[in-house]
Amino acid sequence: MMSRGSKGGTEMTQTLRIEVQQLTGDSAITLDEGQRIYDQIHPMLLADHDVELDFSGVDIIASPFLNAAIGHLLQDIEPDRLNRRLRFLNLAPTGQYTLRRVIENAKRYYADPKLRRAVDKEIETLSQGVEA
């Protein structure tokens, strides 16, 4: 369930609220599930709107989901903006721990984009070679 509302004032900032459980059910685990969240929130955050992710009813949260949904945001959005615009609601303690580790890992990963691109390209070439 999603809703978009506008705050008062002249900024016309919108708020996108996503009930994660509506997309994932009780378990938010896979990269693909995370990608679906990312696809919705990434353009909103790029446009400097507010996003609220509500994890009510989500009992299991795994790192692949968070890598795709949240970690990936650090590729092209500044941490300051994410701290200002993105809020996590009703995230269980174990999910909070995993999220902090995911964010640390993503920061390390995106800190060296040249290396990352080179490694990704190389691995892709190698895996295509193996499959062929």
């Binding site: 790192s63 890598n67 590729q75 701290n83 902090r100 920061k107 990704d120």
Partner: protein
């Protein structure tokens, strides 16, 4: 004390073999390869622009916090993680695939990884 014991097994090429291919170190000892795989951010999966590689590190942290035990046999490597130990050694005979034994305390007191409130910014 309630204990939960889990075993997960597959018959793939094993972790050291994938790590050697990924790092292009054909002679890397199995023990070093499996130690590498347990580091945060280590992955042999094509990442396609998304950071990954946290699964084994998170599992290791969880087992330590729980004061449980994890044993892994994979392609000539053996690893042991418990409350006080973390060791990775070469192991013969080699297990062709990957086998993980996990023992966890299932009492609630051991369950949470982190319960304290943390008001630090997320990013």
């Amino acid at each position: 004390m309630q204990l939960l014991k889990l075993t997960v097994v597959d018959f793939g090429v094993g972790i050291p073999s994938n790590v050697r291919k990924y790092l292009r170190k054909r002679r890397m000892p199995a023990a070093d390869a499996i130690r590498w795989a347990f580091q945060p951010g280590a992955t042999t999966t094509p990442q396609r622009g998304i950071s990954r590689g946290l699964g084994l590190d998170l599992l290791k942290t969880f087992v330590k916090t729980n004061k449980g035990k994890l044993e892994i046999f994979s392609d000539g490597a053996y690893g042991l993680v418990d409350g006080s130990t973390e060791q990775f050694v070469n192991h013969e005979p080699s297990f062709e695939g990957t086998l993980i034994n996990i023992t966890l305390h299932s009492d609630e007191a051991y369950y949470y990884l982190a319960t304290e409130v943390n008001d630090e910014p997320w990013f």
